[in-house]
Amino acid sequence: MIWLALTLLTFALGVVLQLRFRSPLLNPTLLATVLVGGLLLLTRTPYPTYTQATEPISAFLAPAVVALAVPLYRLRALLARQWRALLLGGAAGTLVGVGVDTLLPRALNLSLEAQRALSTAPATSPVALQLAHITGAPAALAATLAVLSGLLGALVLPAFLTLLGVRHPLARGLALGAVAHGIGTARAREEGDLTGAASSIGMGLAALVVTLVVALRG
């Protein structure tokens, strides 16, 4: 029970700190992971004990993935008006991301576990987690690498897109959502409503594209 409480409280603390310091990098998931992970190591608590204690949280993962349909439905007018840019741009970006995350680890001869876990990183973490059962990746690693992809994307992509001359808010938001999912979308919202909306669409489509790639490859 104490581990459940600690997980909830460190996440809430992370949100408080993030609101206070207004940085997407002060990420509540990351903070809670580091604090709780550190405590597990310090107390020598086995990870399975922890997952069992936090099962009530994990129970909400499946409904949360289903709920990704809601932003897609809410933004249907934008999606209908700009479907070429959003669908083609988003699908192409996510496919390239998955391609790099699949082929580069092979070229670098990384461990099989890492190869499998990296291949789903452009999908939002709960989806990467569900896909781990299919790819055979360690679920914890797949979820963590997806989070890191989001963080890294929020950090480097806005400046990179500016460097490439991508200025339209739809294109910038879509690019962030297509590879950096949730955390990228939080960052996109800081640039404006349209950027945030495009990023939500990019994130929803990425979940579908990565799932299809995994299924077709399987």
């Binding site: 936090t54 994990s58 499946a62 993935v65 580069l104 294109a171 690019a175």
Partner: protein, 129 residues
């Protein structure tokens, strides 16, 4: 027609919405088991819900409070999984390579998405030059 759902107490609306969301996850999972397709039931459930909303089989206000609630704390829901990364601290220097792979995927993927979308975007939105 004014919605009856709006008259429900807020906690009950959340319960109703969660029920619908979980039902779609279960539906997706059942369907995949039936068809022997290797897709996660929840992702299939998301597509089914998207279609059901579009066909007005499910009304947005049934699920809105629950969906906004779970998506609002999405970052909490996979902490039990990410904490498991402590098992991989032994990988040490490999983490650097993993981050490098992620960075390459991000730059190439976002570059393609951004450039392609900027080219295909219709002029009537946003208008930022």
């Amino acid at each position: 027609m004014p919605s009856q759902t709006a008259a429900l107490p807020p906690p009950v609306r959340v319960v109703l919405g969660l029920g619908v969301l979980v039902a779609f996850a279960a539906l997706g999972e059942g369907l995949m088991r039936l068809l022997h397709w290797p897709l996660p039931g929840s992702v299939v459930g998301m597509v089914l819900l998207w279609a059901a909303l579009g066909l007005r089989l499910v009304r947005l206000d049934w699920i809105e409070p629950a969906a906004d609630g779970v998506l609002g704390v999405l970052g909490l829901l996979f902490i039990p999984a990410t904490v498991g990364a402590v098992q991989f601290l032994g990988a040490g220097a490999a983490w650097g390579l993993w981050l490098l792979v992620l960075l390459a995927g991000l730059l190439l993927g976002a570059g393609v998405a951004g450039l392609l979308a900027a080219r295909l975007v219709r002029a009537d939105d946003g208008g930022a030059k």
